[in-house]
Symmetry: C2
Subunit: 150 residues, 2 copies
């Protein structure tokens, strides 16, 4: 219902979960006070080990994003939305800068880059949904990957 992870992405699973939770909170898909899916439930749903989910939750807790109510579950902290918005923004900016840096290093001109961005954006707009919601028909498994051709 909520998230989708992809092993073999390069990015650790627990990191993907952390990121997606942050995105969902930043966009108010998950709101303050709301209970997250339980460790066991999520681990079953994603077909991964409970420990991996737990690790993601621990990191989120360490960052003050979620609070664990022992015996009940984990809930989104009150200030979390703003924090996650900032964090997500910063993360995306870093990622964007890295990609654009590589594009320039790779010999693309700023105009080529802009054009490519435009084209890609138009295409993605129809197939990709923000975090926490399901994509219409598209499997993020293969698209969101950091392609590592062997």
């Amino acid at each position: 219902m909520f998230f989708a992870v992809d092993p073999g992405n390069g990015v650790p699973i627990y990191d993907q979960i952390v990121r997606q939770v942050k995105y969902a909170i930043a966009q108010r898909t998950l709101r303050s006070g709301q209970l997250l899916p339980s460790v066991r439930q999520l681990s079953t749903q994603l077909a991964i080990n409970p420990n991996t989910v737990a690790r993601a939750f621990q990191q989120l807790q360490a960052e003050g994003i979620i609070e664990t109510l022992r015996g009940r579950g984990v809930v989104v902290c009150s200030g979390a939305a703003e924090v996650c918005r900032r964090d997500s923004k910063s993360h995306l900016a870093t990622r964007l800068e890295a990609t654009l840096t590589e594009a320039i290093q790779g010999g693309m001109t700023p105009d080529e880059i802009r054009k490519s961005v435009d084209k890609t954006l138009h295409r993605l707009q129809k197939t990709v949904a923000p975090a926490g919601q399901a994509s219409p028909d598209h499997s993020p498994t293969s698209s969101g990957a950091t392609g590592k051709p062997s």
Copy 2:
């Protein structure tokens, strides 16, 4: 003189070398028939193990980009420029798509993305140079990293 790698990037060193060599060939900084720096020379210059360089060269050879003349060194194959251009283009497109996908998943609107791209491009244009040449004053160590907070 030629390349710069950054351990702790997330991306393997040998992969950085492969990529940069491809970029350099694609931009004709390295031309067909030209000898690449030797394994040992490059390993000394980058302060890494000769094996790491060798591994990069092996991968390049496997892709038909370079040819190894045993006892003499490695040279750029004749068709390499076109291959590298295509490969680089494809790689950058994939990377761009992945980043933009994540940006949308992260809740950025296409307009925000375009604006951010523009801003970042203007900044990068002054500090980043294409592969094979030296950057004016900028250390790619911290900018090109795929941030992985531990």
